[in-house]
């Protein structure tokens, strides 16, 4: 706890000084590079998988969809695999990664703390508790509801659970029209502890099968992607991304301190509320359809900040692009490395992300010691 507070001080001091020039990449170059990186990763993801589809065939299939090619150059089953399994999966990976990345950047800006990530405000925890409730008790508690919603019950419940938890944390931290960031942090930790206990209860009453389903849900996956799921998730995450991206200038002002931002004419209270709602929306939607995907929200903004400096007009879109690239890359490795079986995505985001992050820290740590 004291570590968090101390770090927060560090960052505030640090942000007042001009950052060291070494290792800084001009914003335009960095964003162009990230767009290119995402493009390469997405192409590689579309062209690789357990079911063999050569890049040329993939292009023919896509051209065929818009009527530019005949159906002669590929097998019908290749088309079915690409169009109904692989493409939606890659698209969901992009959305979820982008949502987690930008939400992470927004949380670090809001808390003015490099350790902040979206789990702090209870969204993921609330979603996990709701998911556990549906997996373990769904049929008992809400038989009619589960029947009418079918497989959509879990994501809808998880989304609602995430928003309820985040709202609760926000309400606890808001007193007399002002939201205290310190209380927000503590309330988030308390709610997360409560949620963890709730999941423990469900784990205890769960049967063997539910236990495994719960464990695998928590490891995260974008394997369940379909165009229908995308149609529901894209508007939520898309809206959150647009809203957060537009907060770049107020976030820069907030980096100077709350009262400084207020003097600069920023409605700090409104900024907090909008950022929290948008981040909760993005993370809630992401967790609802893909389970827990660790580390993306923490890692992506840091890497961009270490490379390009703290300006949010770069950090926000940068974290979005890098988050998307990271999730799609991790998912591709997960589904091809032990094919025809598959390793969980939540494991790989950390396996790929953590060593990279440590390497970056080792290279850049001089700039962090003040």
């Amino acid at each position: 706890m004291s570590g968090l507070a101390a770090r927060s001080e560090d960052l505030r001091v640090q942000s007042r000084r001009p950052l060291p020039a070494r290792g800084r990449v001009p914003a335009r170059w960095a964003l162009s590079f990230l767009v290119a990186l995402l493009g390469v990763v997405v192409l590689a993801a579309v062209a690789s998988g357990a079911f063999q589809i050569r890049p040329g065939e993939a292009i023919l299939i896509l051209a065929h969809q818009v009527g530019l090619a005949s159906a002669d150059g590929f097998a019908a089953q290749q088309e079915a695999v690409l169009m109904s399994i692989r493409l939606p999966r890659v698209a969901l990976g992009i959305l979820v990664g982008a949502g987690l990345g930008i939400a992470g950047a927004a949380m670090q800006a809001l808390f003015r703390n490099p350790l902040a990530d979206p789990t702090l405000i209870g969204v993921s925890g609330g979603a996990a508790l709701a998911a556990a409730a549906v997996i373990v008790m769904g049929v008992v508690w809400i038989p009619g509801l589960s029947r009418s919603l079918g497989p959509a019950t879990l994501p809808i419940a998880a989304f609602a659970g995430g928003l309820v938890a985040a709202t609760l944390v926000y309400r606890i931290a808001t007193y007399a029209g002002r939201t205290s960031i310190a209380v927000l942090l503590l309330a988030g930790i308390a709610i997360n502890a409560l949620v963890e206990a709730g999941i423990g209860v469900f784990t205890y009453v769960a049967n063997d099968e539910q236990l495994r389903n719960l464990a695998f849900w928590r490891l995260g996956s974008v394997g369940g992607a379909s165009w229908t799921i995308l149609a529901f998730v894209a508007p939520a995450i898309g809206a959150a991304m647009v809203v957060l991206w537009r907060l770049a200038a107020p976030f820069d002002a907030l980096a100077l301190g709350e009262s400084e931002a207020r003097h600069l004419g920023i409605d700090v209270q409104r900024l907090k509320a909008v950022a929290l709602v948008a981040a909760a929306l993005a993370v809630g939607a992401a967790v609802a359809v893909s389970g827990m995907i660790f580390f993306v929200g923490l890692l992506a903004p840091h890497v961009v900040r270490l490379a390009c400096g703290p300006a949010h007009r770069v950090v926000l879109p940068g974290a979005m692009l890098l988050g998307a690239a990271l999730v799609v890359a991790a998912d591709t490795v997960g589904r091809t490395s032990v094919a025809p079986a598959e390793l969980p995505l939540g494991v790989f985001t950390a396996f790929i992300g953590a060593p990279f992050f440590v390497a970056l820290l080792l290279r850049e740590r001089r700039a962090w010691v003040l």
């Binding site: 079915a80 379909s226 025809p340």
Partner: protein, 282 residues
């Protein structure tokens, strides 16, 4: 979008046509240990192109490509084996992966996963029907029925009714006991014994006091579980267990997990073996 759905439909039709034209599908992915056993028992093992990691019997199944654990299937991984049919246990999943496989035109047959003799029969019938081998399915069913009569007679011949505690110890230091509505509970009852934890539902963590209160005469465990614990001696050093009648007499019975709990074609034989070991032990 529509174009591609039509394509998927065409694949489905083509697959269905191929199935009826020949003698059932010749490239099959089996998911679930019991399903794989049944395919082999029907003499159709050579049609399997891949199985899941729970398919560990017969030996030949171990040499086949693995599509991963039955609850974490990858739709693309399964399809990459180019199956004409997938036969899966009810708990196979995730559901979205099964739906994706069906969407590409590969039929998925799901067999039930309850813990009773009837389930074994239904499984055999469904697998045989999917493979286009109903005749061999009937033969296998008859064989199983005959073995069952034999097993029932054997069970009825024992006068004792031992209290049995089934210990699931697949993780290092925490063990679970089987309550009602588990495969182990069903097998214990079929074998003419009493489940010492009949009062609880599902698998529950074992506490020392509950173990003593349940007073089992025998501890039943899987061979894999006993290995995880580190042998019978380690088992009795667990808090509570040493003070039970089973612990005092050091009575432990171990069986292969798939044989004991799989509810596949060897189930009647397993009941007979289990009864012999349980009643012979007391």
């Amino acid at each position: 979008m529509e174009r591609f759905l039509t394509a998927a439909g065409a694949v489905a039709l083509a697959a269905a046509a191929a199935t009826t034209a020949a003698q059932g599908p010749t490239r099959v992915v089996a998911v679930g240990g019991a399903v794989t056993e049944i395919v082999y028992a029907l003499g159709a093992g050579e049609r399997l192109v891949a199985v899941d990691t729970t398919s560990v019997y017969p030996e030949a199944a171990l040499k086949l490509p693995k599509v991963g654990y039955m609850r974490t299937l990858s739709s693309e991984g399964v399809l990459a084996m180019r199956p004409q049919a997938v036969i899966a246990a009810a708990e196979a999943g995730p559901k979205s992966a099964i739906a994706q496989i069906e969407l590409t035109g590969v039929p998925v047959t799901t067999v039930p996963s309850d813990h009773n003799l009837d389930t074994v029969r239904v499984r055999v019938r469904k697998v045989a029907a999917t493979l286009g081998l109903p005749g061999r399915g009937e033969e296998l069913e008859k064989r199983i029925a005959a073995q069952w009569t034999d097993a029932e007679r054997a069970v009825a011949s024992y006068a004792t009714r031992p209290r049995v505690l089934f210990l699931l110890a697949h993780t290092g230091n925490s063990a679970l006991v089987a309550g009602e509505d588990t495969a182990a509970d069903a097998m214990i009852r079929y074998a003419g014994a009493t489940n010492a934890f009949a009062g609880v539902n599902g698998y529950k963590p074992l506490t020392a006091e509950a173990a003593i209160a349940a007073a089992p005469d025998i501890v039943l465990i899987t061979t894999e579980g006993l290995e995880t614990i580190g042998g019978a001696d380690r088992l009795w050093s667990r808090p509570g267990l040493a003070l039970t009648p089973a612990g005092k007499a050091k009575r432990v019975v171990a069986f292969d997990a798939l044989y004991l709990l799989g509810f596949g074609p060897r189930m009647p034989q397993a009941v007979k073996d289990l009864a012999a070991r349980l009643h012979g032990a007391t």
